[in-house]
């Protein structure tokens, strides 16, 4: 639409058919509802030249008409009255929902895709007011903007709108500053990507204890009210404040992601960690309260402890098993954190991250052939962006780094019932002050 509307070049966009609703919707909210699009079958990825030629020679699966006829008409067909119609509309969101009984309203919220398909706490005015009482910010203050994908429009939300979603999640009012900080990050926990992403939220600082958050045994599981409901609030506020998360329209994750229910929300075990807390690594004081949000969260590698003879090989194997597009976040039980010091001498987190960066390597030819590297990193390399441009010069058998140093994070959590630990494919987003939202 940019080249057509802004640069004045008549354009046709080709999409795969499963994105028809998305394409029409994005065109509409970008002010060009009649943008000309042609559809071919899904998938294009992995198909041979011969198979793709058949797509070109075949019919548009949406309209049933020949693809090339539609392409040519898209560039030459004169505008009709509908094409020329200026669509201007203000979209508004009413403050209230029509009154109803408990059962009726649960059904309204379910049918409007305002929930995660589990029962919610209905956001009555009284409950929302109680939530709002736990922040000094005004209810109509804008907290931020969010969207499910880069090609959609940003939606805006206020303190009150965040409170509504916090109530729905079952959060207690005292959790509200943490939930506001998450909302202020603008990082969606309901991204629309076909890769089925989720989010992760790590809470640091005194607020962990104020809210009785769990950073010990079972911290990542369903065993703590604050962890559970703050995480659920992250998901609900994301889907509702960004304008939806509906499969086929505003959510295209092919398989979906179970982590999305709770957005992997937990507190770091700072007291048992041998290293500086996560928020301190990102510029905050230890006495500050903050929440760090991550995206991705598609895959996990795990093992038990670090064996004396081959621990380095084992960790390298875990890293090699990851898609190199997804950044690694080491989530370590305190037992394993100390083992990393015993085995590798990593008495600071920086030293461990250096080791990970230098040891997560693979042959260049293999690296560049990953589909996600082809889609998202290779174009940046050919554009001349470093360090990717230099990495592209490596011979196919030359070992190159899978991850850049600033893409690697380490978090300590767990109750030391054993030294199990994991690597989440989770890309760091940002750290936001909780104190500023009190």
């Amino acid at each position: 639409m940019t080249i057509d509307g802004k640069y004045g070049v008549p354009t046709v966009a080709i999409h795969t058919n499963v994105f028809e609703r998305v394409v029409r919707s994005v065109a509409r909210v970008n002010g060009m509802p009649r943008a000309r699009a042609v559809f071919v079958p899904q998938p294009v990825m992995g198909k041979s030249a011969q198979e793709l030629r058949a797509y070109v020679d075949g019919n548009d699966p949406v309209t049933g008409r020949p693809v090339m006829q539609e392409v040519i008409e898209g560039l030459t067909r004169p505008f009709d009255a509908q094409d020329l119609e200026k669509v201007v509309y203000e979209r508004t969101t009413p403050r209230m929902v029509n009154a109803g009984t408990e059962d009726e309203l649960q059904q309204v919220f379910l049918e409007n895709n305002w929930t995660d398909k589990l029962p919610i706490v209905l956001p009555t005015e009284q409950r929302v007011a109680e939530m709002l009482a736990h922040t000094s910010h005004k209810l109509d203050e804008v907290v931020g903007h969010m969207r499910p994908t880069q090609f959609r429009e940003y939606w805006e939300y206020t303190v009150e709108k965040v409170a509504v979603n916090a109530v729905m999640a079952g959060a207690r009012p005292e959790y509200f500053p943490v939930i506001l900080a998450i909302a202020a990050s603008g990082v969606s926990g309901r991204g629309s990507t076909t890769s089925s992403a989720a989010a992760m939220a790590v809470v640091n600082g005194p607020v962990r204890h104020e809210l009785n958050m769990n950073c010990g045994t079972g911290a990542l599981g369903p065993y703590n009210h604050a962890n559970a409901t703050i995480g659920r609030a992250y998901g609900l506020l994301s889907q509702n404040l960004q304008g939806g998360s509906e499969p086929g329209l505003t959510y295209m994750g092919s398989q979906g992601n179970n982590y999305a229910y709770n957005c992997i929300t937990f507190a770091e075990n700072e007291e048992r960690s041998p290293w500086e807390p996560l928020h301190v690594s990102h510029g905050f004081k230890a006495s500050d309260s903050a929440v760090s949000v991550f995206g991705g969260c598609r895959h996990t590698a795990f093992t038990l402890g670090l064996r004396e003879a081959h621990w380095q090989d084992h960790v390298r194997n875990m890293l090699r098993g990851m898609d190199p597009r997804e950044h690694p976040t080491f989530v370590l039980d305190p037992i394993t954190a100390r083992q990393f010091i015993d085995r590798g001498g990593f008495d600071t987190k920086d030293k461990l991250i250096d080791w990970i960066c230098n040891n997560a390597c693979m042959p260049a030819g293999e690296y560049w052939d990953y589909q996600l590297i082809q889609n998202y990193v290779y174009p940046r390399a050919t554009y001349g962006e470093e360090p990717y441009a230099s990495m592209l010069k490596a011979a196919p058998d030359e070992m190159i780094r899978m991850f850049q140093r600033d893409e690697i994070e380490v978090v300590v959590v767990g109750g030391e019932t054993n030294g199990y630990w994991r690597i989440f494919g989770a890309s760091y987003g940002k750290t936001v002050s909780v104190d500023e939202w009190r």
Binding site: P10, F19, G100, T101, T382
Partner: protein
Amino acid sequence: MSVIDTELQRNGARATEDGALLSVLNPMGYPPRVTPKDMAPRLDTLEGKRVFLVDCRFDDADIFLKQMQTWFEEHLPGVKTELIQLSSVYTRDDPETWEKIKSNGDAAIVGVGH
């Protein structure tokens, strides 16, 4: 006792077994205003025109567009086609490429989006 019942009691709200109506807030955010954009005027014909086939560098789009280019050569040889790649990843705007197409071409086919 369900979570909802617990919350109703904690917040002093009326239970709804008697059919009492509840007044609740809408959880959706605020969408931006939609402003219309004009499409570029269409061409009378593609004959003799230069059409850029723009590879968005996603999921083998280049292979697909090469097949489309071959189709033009076979069926509409009077149409000049030029395959061009986005400068970088498709998530970034690419004004240099758009300017090049505007200066040197008559139309564009962009693919394959998802």
